[in-house]
């Protein structure tokens, strides 16, 4: 309403051209990351008896078999009691298989990292799609001006899906002890038989892992493509034609329902099954929160970048402020979910549940990162983004964004590493390199996707509302 003679905002199409500097920077990050990854892989602490194809070699089976043996031995005493490495009975069944005698093959660390990054960017791209859908469903106006950014981000879904599928296909027996157990095919009552894993095998098996992941993410991506194409069509029809918008709302409604229900299953399959004996009913929400807050942060980063390059002329500090509020609010939401999972398990101290945190909270190897997780994903954004001025300051927002993205990478790292490679996990050249590479590739990919259509959805019915968006002084 402020637009009358106060100020008139011109809404016009904007064609984004990736600046040479941005190309150089993103591709440079990707290449440097790749080099560091290669260096990291070649300098992995190798053990002569272990190779990349560990599951083909009987010698390295011992590392995995340890669990089966321990579980079997435990059956004699109490199903909840497990014999630890030193031969002592412990209350906590170990979910990580830390056995100095039989370490996992060194190359597993590479696959575990690929899983961390692939999954992290998968949930970010999915959350970007969810952002579009939820804004359609909520009939939101303010976000119309920036909707082309999540539209570009969702094009990364197939890339992340392929990476995750490759990891699952090639390295599932190294990463998931249940997959290795499945491979062993132990008969009921035979030595090494695991009642829990056998009971879960109807869901937790390689077929469902591979085809379930493929199916779920493909369905999400089809919705993403549909919403993208409807948005593109809207640019070409005359202003005021609501056909495409109405269709988008309907598809968005269907997507939010499907995604809301099935995303939990996806997170159980890919990440929660790393600790197959353990389960958490809030895990799906927790993973959603991680992806959602990261996606909002990255949307904010792209808005800041494009504005600094003179694009997105109708996007004002008001939109940036709203994105800052989102980052702030959903950091708290993430913490809420994180704490809800942690606190109940910590307090109840049921052995099969607390094992998960025993590996992270009590283990000196992950303890620092465990606390760092809360500091980076809650304390830092909470304090930095609390005031209004900070939320409107691009520099402060960028710093908070950097902390949040790294922090949530650390979050996914902590979900995956203790259960897959345990004592071999470490943030080294490989980890930093691969994360840098993924960031570079993702940024380049999204910038390229942004060039494929106007940055401003000029015919969106709410584009004017978005242009004049004002949250007040």
């Amino acid at each position: 309403m402020a637009h009358h003679e106060a100020h008139h905002i011109e809404i016009s199409k904007e064609q984004f051209v990736v600046p040479a500097k941005a190309k150089m920077f993103t591709l440079g990050a990707a290449i440097i990351g790749l080099l560091l990854t290669v260096v990291g892989v070649f300098t992995l602490p190798t053990d002569s008896s272990h190779s990349a194809n560990s599951h083909a070699k009987p010698a390295t089976h011992a590392g995995h078999d340890n669990h089966g043996a321990a579980a079997q031995e435990a059956h004699k005493v109490d199903p909840n009691l497990v014999v630890d490495n030193a031969g002592h009975e412990t209350l906590f069944p170990k979910t990580t298989h830390k056995d100095p005698e039989h370490p996992k093959p060194a190359f597993t660390r590479f696959w575990a990292n690929l899983l961390v990054n692939g999954y992290f960017f998968l949930i970010i791209s999915l959350a970007a799609l969810f952002f579009i859908a939820v804004n359609h469903v909520a009939n939101a106006g303010w976000s119309a001006a920036i909707k082309r950014i999540p539209e570009a981000m969702l094009t990364f879904i197939p890339v992340a899906l392929v990476i995750v599928l490759v990891v699952l296909f090639v390295a599932r027996q190294d990463l998931y002890h249940w997959a290795h157990y499945e491979h062993q095919n132990i008969a009921k009552g035979a030595p090494g038989y695991d009642k829990i894993l056998a009971g879960k095998s109807g869901f937790l098996n390689s077929n469902i892992l591979l085809f379930g992941t493929l199916l779920f993410v493909s369905i999400y991506f089809l919705f993403g493509l549909k919403l993208r194409s409807l948005s593109k069509k809207e640019d070409e029809v005359s202003k005021g034609d609501l056909t495409n918008f109405r269709k988008s709302v309907r598809f968005s409604g269907a997507f939010t329902v499907i995604y809301g229900f099935s995303f939990s299953v996806l997170s159980w399959l890919i990440i929660m099954s790393v600790d197959a004996h353990w389960y958490s009913t809030i895990f799906g929400v927790y993973n959603f929160a991680t992806g959602w807050v990261s996606a909002l942060t990255i949307i904010c980063c792209f808005v800041l970048y494009l504005r600094s390059q003179g694009y997105l002329k109708i996007v004002s500090d008001e939109h940036v402020h709203d994105l800052g509020k989102f980052m702030f609010a959903f950091s708290i939401f993430w913490t809420y979910i994180w704490l809800a999972q942690f606190l109940l398990i910590w307090y109840a101290q049921i052995p099969e549940e607390v094992a998960y945190y025993y590996d992270r909270f009590n283990d000196p190897q992950f303890k620092f990162q465990f606390f760092l997780n809360v500091i980076m994903n809650f304390v830092a954004p909470f304090l930095i983004l609390m005031t209004r001025n900070n939320k409107r300051n691009p520099l402060v927002l960028s710093i908070a964004a950097l902390i949040l993205i790294t922090g949530h990478w650390n979050d996914v790292y902590l979900m995956v590493m203790p259960g897959t490679i345990g004592s071999a996990a470490e943030v080294g050249v490989l980890e930093i390199g691969m994360f840098t590479m993924f960031c570079g590739v993702f940024a380049y990919w999204v910038l390229q996707a942004l060039t494929r259509r106007s940055l401003i959805a000029v015919n969106h019915p709410y584009i004017e509302e978005s242009a004049y968006h004002d949250v007040g002084p």
Partner: protein, 188 residues
Amino acid sequence: MGIIDKNVMLRNRGKMLLGVYEDEEKVMAAAKELTGHGIPVLDVYTPYPLHGLDRIIGIKRTNLTVIAFICGLTGFSLAALMIWYMNVHDWPMNVGNKPLIFATSWIPVMFESTVLLTAFGMAFFFFWRNRLAHGIEPELLDDRQTDDRMVVVVEAGNVNEQEVLSIYRKTGAVELRERLNGTQKVVG
């Protein structure tokens, strides 16, 4: 708009010049014109919010957030104090051999208490600040300001009254009034 203004008690003020409008665009134009001439606009009363008007007439941002922060901090500390007194000091309670002082298990209570006191505190201060309570006579400059009229208010005194009235007239006010000690007089 009266929500943010410091002196919400209009009866405490001196002579005021009122421009009554029936169109929001004209109100915006009048506000711009007045502030452009260096005439401070005391307030504008409208039946619905006019976005951007608060910036034009230079209304300061609400301090309610500061109140919220203080109330939240109070709730947080009170909860911590309460738990400490009950479960540590007065009657040490061993629950599953968990540490007595460990903030993690205190968080739900501290969180709820923070939210509770923030919400109550903000609601209380909001009503108190705006004199919104039973028994308080509302000070309407025009009975229709809650319906379809908008009232621009300029405080007489340091301004050229004729200039203000001519700006009102020029920008399309349907009625011009003076208000002194609670009585109004139509001047054009």
